[in-house]
């Protein structure tokens, strides 16, 4: 369908306005919301994802495309009640206590928001207790923790221990990242996932929220 191809193209260009206009047009012409979602918006994001992986486009374009996708998604979502809509999820994010380095964590936040996720950013120097309490009260799917110093990375262990103590492990899952952190460290402390950069964090979080991981 021509309008769906146009939605996909506008999305790939990061043209939020056109995606919104075309989505409205499509809905007015009785195109089923599901079709708009699958064959317009998601199809466009698939192309963007492939281009990003091939280094044909870069972060700014991905973020603009994601923003454009949500311009369309906000219009079709209310019309799809009861249908299986992929949930982007909610994450509580922060740099662990004792660590004031937050550039990497901020980039992860930007990217996750760009991918449509609800992000509760606790900032830097965040104590373990605060991560867990906020995640519980916000009913978050995930806790994302970042550290730059080897001395602060052990705080991640405290968060995971707290989740275990309060029987929240499994319900609230954890993802960690930062220079001193590795996949082996994640495994050792019982974190559910690890990502080596922000783009990878988005991929992993998407899989975790959709239940693929």
């Amino acid at each position: 369908m021509e309008v769906l191809a146009k939605i996909s193209e506008a999305l790939q260009r990061g043209d939020e306005k056109t995606v919104s206009t075309l989505t409205k047009q499509a809905l007015d012409s009785q195109v089923p919301p599901r079709e708009i979602l699958d064959n317009g918006l998601v199809a466009g994001m698939d192309v963007v994802g492939r281009q990003f992986a091939e280094h044909a486009i870069f972060l700014p374009e991905v973020l603009m495309a994601a923003r454009a996708m949500y311009a369309g998604l906000d219009l079709v979502k209310p019309l799809m009640e009861g249908e299986d809509i992929p949930s982007a999820g909610k994450i509580v994010l922060g740099t662990v206590q004792g660590d004031l380095h937050d550039i990497g964590k901020n980039l992860v936040g930007i990217m996750l928001r760009g991918a449509g996720m609800e992000v509760v950013d606790l900032g830097k120097d965040v104590p373990a207790e605060r991560f867990v309490e906020t995640a519980a009260s916000e009913d978050a799917d995930l806790i994302g923790m970042s550290a730059l110093l080897t001395t602060t990375a052990p705080v991640m262990q405290e968060v995971i221990d707290l989740l275990r103590e309060r029987n929240l492990q499994g319900k609230i899952r954890t993802i960690i990242g930062g220079a001193p952190v590795t996949d082996r460290f994640a495994e050792k402390i019982g974190a559910d996932a690890y990502a080596f950069d922000a783009a990878r964090a988005v991929e992993v979080v998407k899989q975790m929220v959709s239940g693929d991981q």
Partner: protein, 486 residues
């Protein structure tokens, strides 16, 4: 502002030129070719037939300099402009005539064959930052008498880019000219759109062999551009000082210009060279030495002062493997050459005193060349004034990664080299296989070979090339040429 490197003061340039002119008038230059001596005599040079020396007075040199074009262009096989040798415009080309190839699998050198050359030509056709190809190495599976023309033949058949080349004998010039004529269709068309540059090398000190002086004259006859490759070796067959070597280089190059411009005024030339210091510890001629590069960049300034486009063998390395030395010497050379504005920068792909080509290094060098082009663009304001709106946005949003200003100028301001150059963080690099630079470059070669698009050379021209080359091979006792893939 384009960044510039300058090594010589104007006063020193003039003193070097004056000294070189004086040498050509008093000591002259040996030319081991009677026909060329006779040509020079016809144009006012004093000749001593006994010692085969030609002596040039300042007036003759000046006239010849005035005749030589200050700029010229090269065109690819289909006829599109690719190189504009003018002002400080910079173009890269691989090094020339290596005897060995560094084998990726064995990490050892071996004699290259036709298949290697075709692989090279296919890679060259896709390297974005290297404008021309060169006849970079010598296939060992043909008779040595055709090894020069055979390289040009393969280059013209498989890659569209113009070719920096050269003849090893007087006789092979004819076939190498005919191969070009087959592509262009006529002498006039070739003159209008030059397809090759011939490297012609005087022999230090102050000598032209019978072959190379004849090559200069033959090229001039067909207006085929020539690059003069004077090779003083500082401390061995040239004065140990860089200034002394520059005087010698200037004298030898000026003598080439006189031969070329008396043979055919207006023939395009590049004021080039491949000088080096002589490393007395190892008895070698390091192309990666900083002093070698300084001589190169300095004679470029002399060439520009004389009003000529320039060339140098400078972006190459003496390392034996694709290691840190290979990268640092090549990038130092490429960077200095680019900052100097050398018009034709030769050397990509080369190792081991230019005796060995590494195709993986060629891929890396392409990325280095790209970085130097970015350097030459310099720092220009791009909607940076007033700065207030950008910083207001930054403070409000917390980042500028999707700001309009970022999206508009990201690709102009930042270059993204790779995949030879690695910028992933360590975990990502590990997850992607913990590859070495050489492995990444090799993977890229595999992609180039898969993505190769055959040359758009006209079918009749291609058949004529094959016919000419087969005839030349037969003339030298080879019944057939080595098998070639499509």
């Amino acid at each position: 502002m384009r960044p510039r490197l300058q090594l010589l003061e104007d006063g020193l340039i003039q003193r070097i030129v004056d000294e070189a002119v004086s040498l050509l008038g008093t000591l002259g230059v040996e030319v081991q070719n009677e026909a060329v001596l006779s040509l020079l005599a016809d144009h006012g040079a004093r000749i001593d037939l006994g010692s085969q020396r030609a002596f040039f007075q300042e007036g003759l040199i000046q006239t010849c300099l005035e005749r030589a074009p200050s700029a010229f262009k090269l065109y690819d096989v289909p006829g599109n402009e690719t190189n504009d040798f003018c002002g400080n415009k910079v173009h890269y080309t691989p090094g020339s005539a290596a005897l060995n190839v560094l084998d990726y699998e064995t990490k050892r050198i071996r004699k290259p064959v036709t298949a290697d050359y075709i692989t090279y030509a296919k890679i060259m056709s896709q390297l974005e930052h290297i404008a021309s190809q060169s006849t970079a190495f010598i296939p060992s599976d043909v008779h040595e008498n055709i090894s020069d023309s055979y390289r040009l033949f393969l280059s013209l058949l498989y890659c569209e880019k113009p070719v920096v080349t050269g003849a090893f004998t007087i006789e092979s010039f004819a076939i190498m000219k005919d191969l070009q004529m087959a592509v262009r269709g006529s002498e006039e068309a070739l003159k209008e759109k030059p397809l090759t540059v011939f490297s012609c090398c005087p022999t230090s000190p102050l000598k032209w062999s019978g072959v190379t002086s004849q090559n200069v004259v033959d090229c001039a006859q067909y207006a085929i551009p020539v690059e003069f490759i004077s090779m003083p070796l500082a401390g061995f067959i040239a004065p140990v000082t860089l200034t002394g070597s520059l005087i010698q280089h200037t004298a030898e190059t000026l003598s080439g210009i006189v031969i070329s411009q008396t043979a055919n005024p207006g023939t395009p030339v590049l004021y080039g060279g491949s000088p080096a210091i002589f490393d007395v510890r190892f008895e070698t001629t390091p192309m990666g030495a900083v002093e070698t590069m300084m001589i190169d960049c300095a004679y470029n300034e002399i060439g520009k002062h004389l009003g000529l486009p320039t060339q140098a063998y400078i972006s190459l390395s003496d390392a034996k493997q694709l290691d840190a030395q290979a990268g640092l010497e090549s990038s130092m050379g490429a960077t200095l050459a680019a900052l100097s504005g050398i018009n034709n920068i030769s050397g990509s792909g080369m190792l081991d005193f230019e005796s060995c080509i590494s195709l993986e290094k060629l891929v890396l060098d392409n990325e280095i060349c790209g970085m130097t082009f970015r350097l030459l663009e310099g720092i220009e304001p791009r909607e940076d004034f007033p700065a207030l709106p950008h910083f207001q946005e930054l403070l409000k949003e917390g980042y500028l990664i999707i700001a309009e200003h970022t999206r508009k100028y990201l690709r102009e301001e930042h270059l993204f080299p790779g995949p030879s150059i690695d910028r992933a963080n360590r975990p990502r690099w590990e997850q992607e296989g913990s590859t070495t630079l050489e492995e990444r470059a090799h993977r890229e070669i595999e992609k180039y070979l898969e993505g190769y698009q055959p040359s758009r050379i006209d079918g009749d021209a291609a058949r004529e090339l094959v016919g000419l080359m087969e005839g030349e091979a037969r003339r030298h006792g080879m019944d057939q040429l080595p098998e070639r893939e499509a």
